[in-house]
């Protein structure tokens, strides 16, 4: 039982936090909100050079052979200034999927350049009807008779899908849900950029008889849903890790505001009603941090009965405690908190975005409750 980071992890966390603070303050996020891409290829390359993109991947593909803990550390420490580079989309969603589903040649072509910071990935799995069910796939992969496929269908809310070099697309092949890697610039891939509530961008992607070769298929036909299911666990744990950075920042900002803002001739932080609210925010944040540590460690666990419980519990704490912290920090900032000018609202909206991704409250409650262990074993 050990909750401490090792020296390398401490160093990584500090380097990332320093980078976020010094080289990507919130003003940078504000500027890039209005940009067509929303992030910067130079900064992405730098992240590759610093080795941050490679932390969870094996050395054989150019990674550092670390664990998911390192990946979560990067996300948690990029969060305090809302660094907009597509780490979650490209490393966790795209990268972890490709790492598990792809063969050596595919790793070489698509994963290694991403790890080096030369390219980015996006995972196109959601559809208008699917919500959080990764096996609900209406996009078709029709064999073209010569080993390749034709992809047709529509994907929604593809994070980084507007700019990724390569898309990983789920489609129904004759053998079931299957994953394919498709260059975004392929003929028949039509991308519409969609702004998201948190000032970032995603894509709606229409696939119109997109012709791909057999080499674009990741694994066997029918293997896609299981891979995606696993990716969603990584993604949920990643979202929770990021939310720890968001909640901690909101708590700090709020406590600081309570200690400086004066009304009725005194600091408003001297009012007991507000003090108690702040303490409850602190409690929810520490619960979130603690269960996030557990879910991060569990994410690498292959046995779903060990892995899933804490990940769902963590995502549930984001949905309840994390969201509550976001709501209260806005409330305690008063009117200024509801302006676009003040940063607190940016974090508020990011928390809601993280809540909406990779399974919401009801999804994770239902999943936790449907585990066989829930009814059989004592808690």
């Amino acid at each position: 039982m050990d909750f401490e980071l090792n020296q390398d992890q401490e160093m990584l966390a500090k380097t990332v936090a320093d980078f976020a603070k010094n080289e990507s303050p919130v003003e940078r996020f504000r500027k890039l909100r209005d940009d067509d891409v929303g992030w910067d290829a130079g900064v992405w390359r730098k992240m590759g050079e610093l080795g941050w993109i490679g932390v969870p991947f094996a050395e054989s593909v150019g990674g550092f052979g670390g664990s998911f803990v390192e990946c979560a550390l990067v996300l948690e420490n990029l969060a305090p200034t809302l660094v907009p580079e597509p780490y979650l989309a490209s490393v966790v969603l795209g990268g972890m999927t490709l790492a598990r589903a792809g063969n050596a040649a595919q790793h070489d072509t698509y994963l290694t350049p991403m790890i080096e910071g030369e390219t980015t990935l996006a995972l196109a799995h959601s559809e208008a009807q699917s919500r959080y069910d990764v096996s609900s796939v209406e996009t078709r992969a029709t064999p073209d008779g010569s080993g390749g496929y034709k992809l047709s269908g529509e994907k929604v809310w593809v994070l980084n899908g507007h700019h990724a070099d390569h898309l990983i697309v789920s489609a129904n092949a004759p053998g079931g849900v299957t994953l394919f890697v498709v260059p975004r610039e392929t003929e028949g891939v039509n991308v519409t950029v969609a702004k998201t509530i948190d000032g970032q961008k995603a894509a709606f992607i229409k696939l119109d008889d997109v012709r791909i070769s057999d080499e674009a298929r990741l694994g066997e036909e029918g293997s896609g849903a299981a891979v995606l299911d696993r990716t969603m666990d990584y993604a949920a744990a990643a979202a929770v890790a990021e939310s720890v950075g968001i909640a901690t920042t909101m708590l700090h900002m709020t406590v600081e505001y309570l200690g400086t803002r004066e009304q009725f001739g005194v600091k408003i932080g001297s009012f007991q009603a507000l003090q108690h609210r702040a303490v409850d925010m602190y409690a929810e944040t520490e619960l979130l941090r603690s269960i996030s540590m557990a879910s991060t460690v569990r994410a690498d666990e292959d046995d779903p009965s060990v892995r899933r419980g804490d990940i769902s519990a963590a995502k549930y704490q984001l949905a309840t405690g994390g969201i509550w912290v976001a709501q209260q920090s806005l409330q305690l900032h008063g009117g200024i908190g509801v302006t676009d000018e003040h940063d607190i609202g940016l974090y508020f909206k990011r928390m809601y975005a993280l809540n909406a991704l990779f399974g919401d409250q009801e999804h994770h409650v239902a999943r936790f409750a449907s585990d066989a262990a829930f009814a059989e074993a004592p808690a």
């Binding site: 619960l287 519990a313 409650v365």
Partner: protein, 392 residues
């Protein structure tokens, strides 16, 4: 980061589990697996069994009767004790005054009191609150006048839980009425058989015996029973509070009630199937279990700190706040699962034993957010000490 226990620790867990199974008397085990609801005598019996094994005070230093286990083993031991459903031991001697005497007592006090706490020859209760001094404990008015080699104590203590079963009481008394509130208080050990003491038990909301009022009328207390020195009581009280923090996280009781909830939900039906298979009820239970998991991780973090010989981090301050709320929500859920069965009130032999214990326990644990420093007072302290918010 590592969330697992080592192979040796797991082996230790098996050893403890097996021993508890073998050591628990038949009737006690039957009740542990069913209703619980132990009497103070059950608790005393179990205390003696553990004492014989040498396992009654794992958290004490080895030289005064502890086991010499590290924090992880102590944690595992507590977990196994709680999971077994065994009676809880009286905390006042083992976990409150005992550790305080170990830290601040004289050699004589250690020799006189510690062995009898261990052997269950003497049970203790706590004399802090007074009718006029609850959250504002430092306003207490029970006096102790200097009479040479002894003190004369006069006043009334309330919530002196289990005083009717106890031999000794540790009290905060006012020794210097002219000093600033906190400065004139002394921590003193008082023999409950001293002339001038009257104990009046009163029933809890759960209709169980626990609470008492204890009256002191010119009670003579030798000065050698003062711990930490005259007028040093407030420092003693604060030191003792530190011991309480993790104890009030309610990890064991929460786990226990969660198990009972599931066991009951497996035997009752809704829409023609067991409640435990009904999605709505499963979700209700799952929400609290997930909350429990997050809370458990906070307590694991405190444990990991202790294991490394460090003081628990500031996050451990929320354990009481979150844990007491959680146990109330869990007992409330248990009542809901029982449905109209939650009407039952001390009908031994009429209702299933497991159901009989829930209502009184539910009522009693409404005290959890009040005792040990009410949760509102806890919030005041955290706001000031940890968040460093301005004082009014």
């Amino acid at each position: 980061m590592d969330l697992t226990f080592t192979e040796e620790e797991e082996a230790f867990r098996r050893e403890v589990r097996t021993w508890i199974q073998d050591a628990m008397p038949e009737d006690m085990r039957a009740r542990a697996e069913g209703a619980g609801g132990f009497t103070p005598e059950d608790s005393a019996n179990w205390h003696r069994i553990l004492y014989k094994k040498g396992w009654v005070a794992p958290h004490w230093p080895k030289e005064v009767g502890g086991t010499g286990w590290d924090a992880a083993r102590r944690f595992i031991f507590n977990e196994e004790m709680e999971l077994s459903g065994a009676p809880q031991l009286s905390v006042f001697g083992l976990s409150m005054v005992g550790p305080l005497i170990i830290s601040f007592g004289t050699d004589e006090q250690k020799k006189r009191f510690l062995p009898k706490i261990l052997s269950a020859e003497e049970f203790w209760c706590q004399g802090y609150s007074e009718p006029g001094s609850g959250s504002d404990l430092a306003s207490l008015r029970t006096t102790a006048e200097d009479a040479g080699d002894h003190l004369i104590v006069n006043g009334q203590k309330t919530w002196t839980s289990y005083a009717q079963y106890s031999d000794w009481i540790f009290c905060l008394v006012r020794t210097d009425p002219s000093a600033k509130k906190q400065a004139g208080i002394t921590f003193v050990l008082i023999d409950l058989r001293s002339p001038g003491i009257e104990v009046k038990p009163m029933l809890t909301l759960g209709h169980t015996p626990a609470f008492c009022d204890t009256f002191f009328d010119n009670v003579k207390v030798p000065k050698q029973n003062v711990v930490g020195g005259i007028n040093q009581g407030w420092t003693m009280a604060k030191a003792l509070l530190g011991h309480e923090r993790t104890m009030l996280a309610m990890i064991g009781p929460s786990r226990n009630v969660l198990q009972k909830v599931k066991r009951m939900a497996a035997t009752k039906t809704v829409n023609g199937r067991p409640m435990l298979e009904d999605p709505v009820w499963r979700a209700k239970i799952a929400r609290l279990e997930m909350r429990f998991r997050a809370h458990l991780m906070v307590s694991y973090r405190a444990l990991a700190d202790q294991q490394k010989g460090k003081l628990p981090g500031p996050e451990s301050s929320i354990l009481k706040l979150v844990g007491t709320k959680l146990i109330q929500e869990l007992t409330e859920l248990a009542m809901e699962v029982m449905g109209e069965g939650s009407l039952t009130w001390h009908n031994e032999g009429v209702c299933p034993p497991i159901e009989e214990s829930i209502g009184p326990y539910f009522c009693y644990e409404r005290a959890a957010t009040i005792y040990g420093g009410s949760n509102e007072i806890q919030r005041n302290v955290i706001a000031k000490m940890i968040l460093q918010l301005p004082s009014s």
